[in-house]
Symmetry: C2
Subunit: 493 residues, 2 copies
């Protein structure tokens, strides 16, 4: 059987991924090293993600704001671990104008007194504002989010997954007590989990990061890990409990109810455009993308079938009427979006175009369908030959349920993949076999080692501790022979 | 009579502006030179502007996408006038990491082979994509918009009006014919005018820019000019017809229906966060901001009046019920937003807080109001002593009309200011008097000079041609004694 994407997933997963991104018209590399262009279909997915998360954040009392792109070099030095984590991969602005060089070409001019870093994350610059805004316990909690671009000079960029510039949201909160800050970090982690599972149809393993994988400067990092179809892990959103590390660096203090000065307790949490890449690696098949209906920029494409020119008017009128009927329907808070694709292309080419883009539902409408008042409906989660006939009224009445069922199908398939490749592994021998000879996946293994041991395991097996869930129990760590919590080991993106 | 803002508008307009921005909690300067922090109330206004414009754009077939923050230096050189316009004020990235210097501090490291410019605007980088995306006339028109941050190294930054970094949208379109591109530039100009007048309550003068004031590289720039309360002009959104200048620079070609290669015709158009500053300078008074209801992050604040602790429960319950009733109402496509401000502050302080922020409506609720089932309503566009009593049901039934009336009041007041200070001036003597001895404003004066003459007039009177409307007729230019179109001269931001 022929497929639209070459190579197949089973032949060359990384190349298959690139080809799906291209065929679905999501994004492309730009001529600026490591920077991508997010094309309209890809950006449409991001807009869906934004609206969903933004609403969830606002319901918890978070407000959006915007902070400078540039961070003075001296700010970066305020938290030692943090600067260590980002110094090796940041864009540095050193000049503020251009002039003609001796060869007539432009060269940088107007050197800045203090170089500026293009934000890799904004703890430092937002901390400077928090330090000014917070005076007393009455100003707490302070709950802020920003939607922004950030830059990390990735040495091995991969489109949508690891790029020099990417888009994200970063939430930053400050609290009067440790308990409240920790509970906020956990609350946002739970919101991300709900977003991943319900909106993106991504099954996740939730838990803490190990010491070696924590956000630079964080006390605790909560993470979501998903299994891709190549059985590697992708880190989704993270939520960090920062303790007083950053409030000490940025001097964020408040007067408590007794009138004493205290350092605030802070959190930060973020979700990025890499989730678009996760949708591809989890849900796409050998014919291209399959979009969870809740994240689809459009839910339905109508393909008018016009063999004879004299039928055009009738077919287009009917298609328009169906579109008007369906776009009245609300699906998870937003109106159903329907595209009528009347481009002058062969029908097969047009259909495949939308299959590769992963639109949930395709409806063909020709003169005979109008005579029967039946639509030919094809779903991206069913086989391409599977066609259902439904009248416009039947479809309208059951559309929400049909889309929800497709959403659920994608979730269940992804969950099955994860469950089939997630095993309790308790000996070093099995562990080695799993990752070097077997198919790999998530090894649930007791671990009691330190950062050095994590590094060693990474060097030997190319795997890391992805996540420490709190519901996997304990066991004897095969590497240290000590008792330890069962954790998730996996290769990762 | 005492006012909340000091100095008054009449005493020191620039300082009054700074104080209103501060008192309304819109934005503040950051420690990064020329870069601002947009605070939640200011960002809430920006979100309203974004949603309004974004919907208008999408209705015309425009799709959002995202392009890189960085532009390779060599790209900047592709259009001579364009690079000339931006070379003097751009942030240049020259390094991609930091290292420890000899004194232990961080210094830039990893010099880039080619410096990168932080985008001041994206014609060049988007042009590179358009060049790849467009092959045939079937790919046209291409209608793209991006919401992004841009950086122009302003020498005299002023918060929200002229900052090194600001937020904006930039639309970029490519067309097969000159006529179609020109008509798209005009269409977007008309959308901006509708947005300014209806959504922002800003009266505008629409027209073309003179040669001296055009966007660098544009053939025609369409602009909207508004009069601030100090009678200076503020340029609102601009829409540029770029001819084939940029398509030649970026090699954007297409095969026409005859199979011949042609250069496309392009446009670009943008609106920025400076509109938040315009709202302040047009609508604020000596007590702070007055927000047009359509751009208010929240429409109504409920101030519970609780003198005795035992009344708290009853008052808060009633307030909550009123809030629930009002938030059911849709106002221009979005739900009414109501805040219950139960902070532990003195009532007067709380009221003034919201007056300064410019929230359209304040509702006080105390035990006696509940007994009467009447709300004490105060509107920001009425005098502070003016209080209206309405039952919750009366208010709910007429809220949309009441808000629209307030919106209209703001528009009419701004229009009156503009009309009172806009005069036909036909002699050099009157012109000089108007701008150097009189109150100033918009001088509608015939003009037939060239760029050099524009410069000379600017040096003599500190005014420029703001706009060439096409409905003001012709006359004899007092500077050249030749026949010319009547244009708008004014001092400007």
């Amino acid at each position: 059987m022929k497929h639209a994407i070459s190579p197949l997933r089973s032949e060359d997963f990384p190349e298959w991924y690139q080809q799906v991104v291209k065929a679905a018209d999501l994004a492309e590399n730009s001529s600026v090293r490591g920077c991508m262009v997010i094309k309209p279909w890809g950006y449409g997915i991001w807009e869906k993600m934004q609206r969903d998360l933004d609403q969830k954040f606002k319901e918890t009392g978070v407000s959006n704001a915007y902070f400078p792109l540039f961070i003075p070099l001296s700010y970066m030095e305020k938290e030692a671990e943090h600067v260590e984590g980002f110094a090796k991969e940041c864009a540095v602005v050193t000049h503020h104008r251009l002039k003609k060089g001796s060869d007539g070409g432009l060269i940088p001019d107007g050197e800045l007194e203090e170089p500026l870093i293009v934000r890799p994350t904004s703890e430092m610059i937002i901390g400077a504002s928090f330090s000014k805004w917070i005076e007393s316990y009455r100003d707490l909690p302070l709950l802020i989010n920003q939607w922004a671009n950030v830059v990390r000079w990735e040495m091995r960029p991969r489109i949508l997954l690891r790029t020099a510039e990417f888009l994200w949201q970063e939430g930053h909160t400050a609290h009067a007590t440790k308990e409240e800050a920790l509970s906020k970090a956990k609350e946002m982690h739970a919101i991300y989990q709900q977003f991943a599972e319900e909106s993106l149809a991504l099954p996740v393993i939730a838990g803490e990061k190990s010491e070696g994988e924590r956000f630079p400067g964080a006390v605790t990092t909560f993470t979501l890990e998903s299994m891709m179809q190549d059985r590697k892990a992708l880190q989704g959103c993270t939520s960090h409990f920062l303790g007083q590390n950053f409030s000490k660096g940025s001097d964020i203090t408040f007067r408590n109810e007794k009138g004493e000065e205290e350092h605030a307790w802070t959190t930060s949490w973020g979700a990025t455009t890499r989730f678009i890449g996760a949708l591809v690696m989890v849900h796409a098949d050998d014919d291209g993308l399959r979009l969870p209906p809740r994240m689809a920029p459009s839910h339905i494409v109508i393909l008018p079938i016009i063999h004879k020119e004299e039928a055009r008017h009738r077919v287009m009128n009917y298609a328009q009427k169906v579109k008007e009927q369906l776009t009245q329907i609300t699906y998870h808070g937003e109106k159903i979006s329907v595209i009528i694709d009347d481009r002058d292309l062969r029908g097969g080419e047009k259909s495949w175009n939308w299959i590769k883009k992963g639109i949930p539902m395709r409806i063909e409408i020709g003169p005979r369908d109008i005579d029967d008042d039946k639509l030919c409906i094809r779903k991206r989660t069913s086989g391409h030959k599977d066609m259902e006939k439904q009248s416009p009224d039947e479809l309208a009445e059951t559309l929400v349920a049909q889309l929800d069922e497709m959403q659920n199908t994608l979730y269940k398939e992804a969950l099955k993949n994860m469950q089939e490749h997630m095993h309790e592994i308790d000996t070093e021998e099995e562990f080695e076999k799993f990752f070097t000879k077997g198919e790999g996946g998530f090894a649930l293994t007791p671990f009691a080692g330190d950062v050095a041991m994590e590094k060693e395991i990474q060097q030997r097996f190319s795997v890391t501790v992805r996540c420490i869930p709190d519901n996997l129990g304990e066991g004897i760590c095969p590497f240290t022979k000590k008792k330890g919590k069962r954790v998730v080991f996996a290769k990762s993106y």
